[in-house]
Amino acid sequence: MLPLRELQLRLSAALTAGPMDTGSVADTADPALLALVSHRGALGPAQRLDIYTDMYRTRLVDVLREDFPRVLAILGEEEFRVLACRYLVRHPSTHPSVRYVGRRFADFLAGETGDLPFLGDLARLEWARVEVFDAPDADPLGRLDLESLPASDWPMLRLRPIPACLVVECAWAAHEIWAAAENSVPGCAGAVRPEASTIRVWREGWSVSHAAMGDLERRLFPLLERGEPFARLCAMGEGGLEPEAAAREVGSLLLRWLEDGLLARLPA
């Protein structure tokens, strides 16, 4: 008789490190484990263990399918399943909530898909969307909140992004690949060219969106995240522009942030 811990380690090994494609536990039978499983009726010990192995694969691959729908669209069902199974062998879940199973999938894909080198970036964008989906709530700042602000307060005004906002740096235009993959057939994104992009992902209401950041936004957003005063944003926005033109650009960007619900309401 195996002690409880030894039994659990052996059963876990059979589930998580066993044959992840279509094989049976019987193919890599752990005699000590199989001897502990009752044989009854039409199902022997290996078949009974296989039920759990299948459940493990199916459940976790399904989670990855839901979290990375555009990677799935590009790879197709079978290739996705094979890669997902390899991922689960290399990175078994280490969090009690199944919500976090995919947190290392992007890094895994980046090292695994040489013929589709953009997949890692696409997966990072999709994972950012998962993270933002249930990130902390915050009331968004509205235009009216700012219109009532005295002009003298503007230079020291410290705007902040809402917590449900992430910035993803990509070597590929992952947002364009994401859009193209919506109606993709497997492999059709193979002609994509590398193009560095910075993408912000945010939640407005319950809806998650993302958008590529332009040069000005890319330069100003770190200041926004650090809570730098608005005057610093304007100064950073000049970047070779005349002050009036820079003010227009920064003002236009501020309006966009407000319309997107990207800024958190100011503390009372």
């Binding site: 876990s12 502990l36 009752s38 199902l43 010990p45 078949q47 039920i51 493990y56 879940s93």
Partner: protein, 282 residues
């Protein structure tokens, strides 16, 4: 000692597919059971839906990752998150499963069966006591569907479950469908199972559908409750009396009204058994 939980009637599981019915105010149930882990998040739609449901009806938290039978140390961060959620939600009670879900720091995200040995019993009792102390409340432990048993088990599942409840002073969540599935898969008598549980420990009942895979029954929660399980529910009511009952439906989830109709059928069956009323037709 008995488990001290209120009678809430006949509830349904809180599932994302039905969130729109919470927003438009048409989601009606005696109570909702929320999967704890799905709401251990900072914000967004899940937490808003839980708050909406809570404003509508009592909430019960049902976990899948406590891993009470694992020989890994209890996950302190998980217990912190559960305790925080309990404080925010104020559930009528909290439950999880008699199983283990991970080992060596890895989670299988499954309800894996334990051997029913004295070693495992002492281990589970210690952990249930520790969890209840940590949460400051009794919990309910649910019997799982299983597809294997161990040759070295020395106790029947119901003996093990009953002993856990008595020694750890916790409650039981009796999943009638799981009893039926496991009884078929392992060849024990459902009557023995129900008769072997301590009646004053059963605080909740689960009902669900399952799938006949030919050589075994699979606990899929993807369809209506089958007639033999309704019959077993009748037996459970005769044995345990009026117990809060919940219908689980987790795959191929139909419209909320369909799930609620199953809950209404459970209400009618309860009336039939306990008050002599005729159950509504299926």
């Amino acid at each position: 000692m008995a488990i001290a939980v209120p009678y809430l009637g006949h509830g349904v599981g809180l599932r994302p597919k039905h969130y729109p019915r919470l927003w438009d105010g048409t989601a009606r149930a005696d109570w909702f059971e929320a999967i704890s882990e799905n709401y251990m998040v900072a914000g967004g739609r899940p937490r808003a839906a839980l708050e909406r449901a809570r404003a509508t009806a009592p909430i019960v938290l049902h976990g899948v990752s406590l891993s009470i039978g694992s020989t890994d140390p209890l996950d302190e961060a998980y217990l912190d998150a559960l305790r925080a959620l309990i404080r925010q939600v104020e559930p009528a009670w909290v439950s999880d499963h008699l199983c283990w879900s991970g080992i060596g720091g890895h989670y299988a995200h499954d309800l894996l069966p334990l051997p029913y040995t004295e070693e495992a019993l002492a281990h589970v009792v210690r952990r249930v006591v520790a969890v209840q102390e940590r949460l400051g409340r009794q919990i309910l432990i649910e019997n799982v569907s299983s597809y294997l048993t161990y040759t070295h088990s020395t106790l029947a599942e119901w003996e093990f479950l009953g002993a856990v409840a008595e020694r750890a002073d916790c409650g039981l969540l009796l999943d009638v469908n799981n009893v039926y599935v496991s009884a078929t898969n392992h060849g024990f008598a459902t009557n023995d199972y129900l008769a072997g549980l301590p009646a004053d420990r059963v605080g909740q009942i689960h009902l669900a559908g399952h799938t006949d895979m030919g050589t075994y029954l699979f606990d899929t929660h993807d369809g209506p409750v089958i007639e033999p399980v309704w019959d077993l529910y009748r037996q459970a009511l005769r044995r345990f009396g009026r117990v809060s009952t919940l219908v689980e439906w987790d795959d191929h989830i139909p419209e909320l009204d369909v799930v609620c109709a199953e809950a209404e059928r459970a209400r009618a069956v309860e009336a039939e058994v306990l008050e002599g009323a005729h159950a509504a037709p299926a």
